[in-house]
């Protein structure tokens, strides 16, 4: 249940980031092709590493609960600061806009 929820959150966040950065990516691809291929090679490295993650996790013998805890921690670390920032921003806007 939590795993599926996390997967849904991941997909949403990745898609939103893609959407926001789409103009910049398009600009880099069209104007700076060498930089674009350098950035793509980093993405390719990450994709290559992802292929082995399954085997490594299986080899480590860790239980599914431990894996989920690690994922939970890193998710929290990655999302907590932006979430707090957004909440504070919303409160600031509300205070500025309320009559």
């Amino acid at each position: 249940m939590i795993g599926k929820l996390l997967s849904a959150i991941f997909k949403l966040v990745i898609s939103l980031i893609n959407l926001i950065l789409l103009p910049i990516d398009t600009l880099i691809t069209s104007s700076l092709p060498d930089l674009s291929s350098a950035l793509d090679s980093f993405s390719s490295l990450v994709d290559y590493v992802i292929n082995f993650i399954g085997y490594v996790v299986d080899c480590s013998g860790l239980s599914a609960n431990a894996i989920n805890l690690i994922i939970l921690y890193f998710t929290f670390v990655l999302l907590s600061r932006p979430t707090v920032y957004v909440v504070k921003l919303a409160i600031r806007w509300y205070k500025a806009l309320k009559p």
């Binding site: 249940m1 849904a8 691809t29 950035l39 990450v46 994709d47 085997y55």
Partner: protein
């Protein structure tokens, strides 16, 4: 949002349930009610009693439309004419005529037209009685007949009902039997300007207002023939089966709605929540690929499954295949694996809790210059 959706479904369901009680099922013109006491009722087309209907009589008008209750379900329009009639009669006469109506009849079936005339009394009522009653049943086709009381093939009789909810009322019962060899005959029951109105009722308008409270057409097959009765039985059965089938479909739909409303199984929602984002486009190129790299790593951790690794050995033409280790651990080191997982899960849990606490404390640190501090 969820509350609004729930309330919407609740109101819709309640309305559907109530509609079956408030909106009565309409009488089908072809409804067959088979009673086999020597005759079979072919069909009934019945209009109900209105709720306090009144004609609104006005003597200054020479023509007055008499409302028929639920006229759309009754094929005959009735218009009343105020006719100043001088010879020997010193008060006005009102005539009720059935005009501009066509109705399809079947030969050999005895049709009975019933018109319940409701009389509304004035405060200073005169004699509330018929001055003269003359009934003419006029049809304009090959079966044209004009009949009065006692004539054939149509007869007229009057019934005076003095009790009941809408009493007193007079009922004119006109019986008409088309010729046996005629089927689907269209009958024109009078016309607007035709002096030979289909049905005449003369009365003293000062005494009362007149309206037709109820009208009905019933067809009877007066036959002892088994074929006739079987035919009607078959048709009646077919219509009842159709009604049952329709009712069954309606009941199934209602049951489905009820099951959907009361279903609290959310097991499919978990998969749906994830499938919702399946069609989101993912671009792993360029800047977005770098920024989303950690998220993709985490996503692969949560959804990763082991597949055996194969890679070629250098200097020899051979492939090495590394199998997944967990089945091997389970087979040969099961107990050790359990203890190992217990210990590692405990250590990782402790480490995660400590790190989360430290992370939150770090966010409160005012000297932390990464993002604005946790100061609400």
């Amino acid at each position: 949002m969820n509350d609004k959706i729930f309330r919407y479904f609740l109101y819709s369901f309640t309305f559907i349930l109530l509609s079956f009680s408030i909106f009565p099922k309409q009488v089908n013109a072809a409804q067959i009610n088979a009673t086999f006491d020597g005759r079979a009722v072919y069909f009934i087309n019945d209009s109900p009693y209105p709720d306090g209907a009144n004609t609104g009589y006005n003597s200054s008008y020479t023509q007055e439309q008499i409302p028929i209750p639920d006229a759309s379900r009754f094929p005959i329009n009735v218009t009343g004419y105020y006719n100043s009639y001088g010879n020997g009669i010193f008060y006005p006469i009102k005539q009720i005529g059935i005009v501009n109506s066509t109705f399809s009849f079947r030969g050999g079936v005895r049709y009975e037209f019933r018109f319940d005339f409701k009389w509304y009394y004035n405060n200073n009522a005169y004699l509330n009685d018929f001055v003269r009653s003359y009934v003419l049943w006029n049809t304009t086709n090959d079966d044209s007949v004009s009949c009065d009381s006692g004539s054939t093939p149509c007869t007229v009789r009057w019934e005076h009902v003095t009790s009941g909810q809408y009493a007193p009322y007079y009922t004119a019962v006109v019986t008409y039997v088309p010729q046996t060899n005629k089927t689907g005959a269209l009958v024109d029951l009078g016309s607007v300007n035709n002096a030979n109105q289909a049905l005449f009722i003369n009365y003293a308008p000062e005494a009362a207002h007149l309206s037709i409270a109820r009208s009905s057409i019933t067809g009877y097959i007066d036959s002892t023939s088994d074929d006739e009765i079987n035919n009607v039985q078959d048709v009646a059965r077919e219509i009842m089966e159709n009604d049952n089938r329709n009712q069954q479909q309606t009941n199934e739909k209602l049951d489905q709605i009820h099951d959907d409303l009361t279903d609290d199984d959310i097991s499919e929602s978990e998969d749906s929540a994830e499938d919702l984002f399946n069609d989101f486009t993912v671009n792993n190129h360029g800047l977005s690929g770098i920024i989303t790299a950690p998220l993709r790593l985490l996503q692969s951790l949560s959804s990763s499954t082991c597949s055996p690794l194969t890679f070629p050995l250098p200097f020899v033409h051979n492939q090495v295949s590394l199998p997944c280790m967990k089945p091997i651990y389970n087979t040969y080191f099961h107990d050790f694996l359990v203890i190992y997982q217990l210990i590692t899960t405990g250590l990782i849990s402790y480490w995660v809790v400590v790190k989360i606490y430290a992370h939150v404390k770090g966010m409160q640190n005012p000297d932390d210059d990464r993002i604005e501090v946790f100061d609400l």
